[in-house]
Amino acid sequence: MVQKIFPDAAAALDGLLFDGMTIVAGGFGLCGIPETLIDGLLAAGTTGITAISNNAGVDDFGLGLLLRNRQIVRMISSYVGENKEFERQYLAGELELEFCPQGTLAERMRAGGAGIAGFYTRTGVGTLLAEGKELKEFDGETYVLETGLTADLAIVKAWRADRFGNLMFRKTARNFNPNAATAGRVTVAEVEEFVDHLKPDHVHTPAIFVQRMILATRNEKRIEQRTITRDAA
């Protein structure tokens, strides 16, 4: 019988981690980030990590925890503005950073996971982020070549899953998670709730992309900008 469900993060990550590895993570800001698996990486102490993630968390939450613990040496991200420790390490030359436009980052994950080595996009043409990259004209418009991304490990956060690894995400916590899930040579998902059965039409990420799962035991879901309606408050 297929056994993809592991007892905890340490067990799910066992045998997958090595220094100098590349990890792709789902999440947007602090929304839909794999909190439990990040704790697992923190406990494992893996170093020299290249992290592919839209953002870098904040000082004391999300990937910020791994940055503070000096486990990440390189990041591929679109926006890192909410993290002071990141800024300190970057300005001190301790951390390497590759900026990637957000849509290009998502497409690089999608392409990598789909076996596509590269693609041309108009995004970034004429900017610093296209420097040194191949340009090509299609129908009189200039496009820049971007490459697909894969990683040794993908870590994602899902809402519901069955034991086969079919995943459903919840609202905007979906974000980069389905794309990251395809880009990992091994994908580990932390799941808020295991269910006996997901309706086939409701599956967001089919089980083929998911090798290991755990029940998410950390679901803090910290809010970055708590905005409320004034009239009703």
Partner: protein, 212 residues
């Protein structure tokens, strides 16, 4: 000379949104535009992080950490809301499916070049989705102050800051005036001055060449 407030700038920008539009609003003043969409005009707002059909901010009871906009603010969903992955979200943006995007800017050039993501020498936070938006959305409307804090014009002959995109801006709404161009090969024209602001006031505070 008074000019428009932030709210009035947002209200002016809202008039550019037409019935049935799918629109993306940037962070800052552009976010306020949602409050001024005229009655009878149905606009569906898009957010980069994978949401179409953005509702207003929640009440204390409605707050859901899994529903945020691209500014990481808590928001609500509507009956016609849909959620999707980041790759799908940018397929909408890059594929030309979004009708309009309203964005902030540090500088815009007379050729429609936009700079809004980086100041050399300062900590660079990253472009987020701005480069994708200007590359793919049909109509780009910029909302910005007419001059910077030191009084320098932000609508310039050439930008001094690194580009977000080249030849991408269609309309500029500042606290003093509105400039528009008919196409990406046309020049910008001054089409409106804020109340109490003269064309001479605008000329004195603008470096870019434009049609009066």
């Amino acid at each position: 000379m008074t000019g428009w407030t932030r709210e009035q700038m947002a209200a002016r920008a809202a008039r550019e949104l037409k019935d049935g539009y799918y629109a993306n609003l940037g962070i800052g003043i552009p976010t306020l535009v949602a409050n001024y969409i005229p009655d009878g005009i149905e606009v569906t707002l898009h957010s980069e992080n994978g949401m179409l059909g953005l509702g207003p901010f929640p009440t204390e009871q409605q707050i859901d950490a899994d529903i945020i906009n691209a500014g990481k603010q808590t928001i609500t969903e509507l009956p016609h809301t849909s959620y999707f992955s980041s790759a799908d979200s940018f397929a909408m943006i890059r594929g030309g499916h979004i009708d309009a995007s309203i964005l902030g800017a540090m500088e815009v050039s007379q050729d429609g070049d936009l700079s809004n993501w980086m100041v050399p020498g300062k900590m660079v936070k990253g472009p987020g989705g701005a480069m994708d938006l200007v590359a793919g959305v049909k109509r780009i409307i910029v909302l910005m102050d007419h001059t910077d804090k030191a009084g320098n014009p932000k609508f310039r002959r050439e930008n001094t800051l690194p580009y977000t995109g080249r030849n991408v801006v269609d309309m500029i709404i500042t606290n003093l005036a509105v400039f528009e161009r008919e196409s990406r090969t046309a020049r910008f024209r001054l089409i409106e001055c804020a109340p109490g602001v003269s064309a001479e006031d605008i000329a004195a505070r603008t470096e870019a060449a434009y049609l009066a």
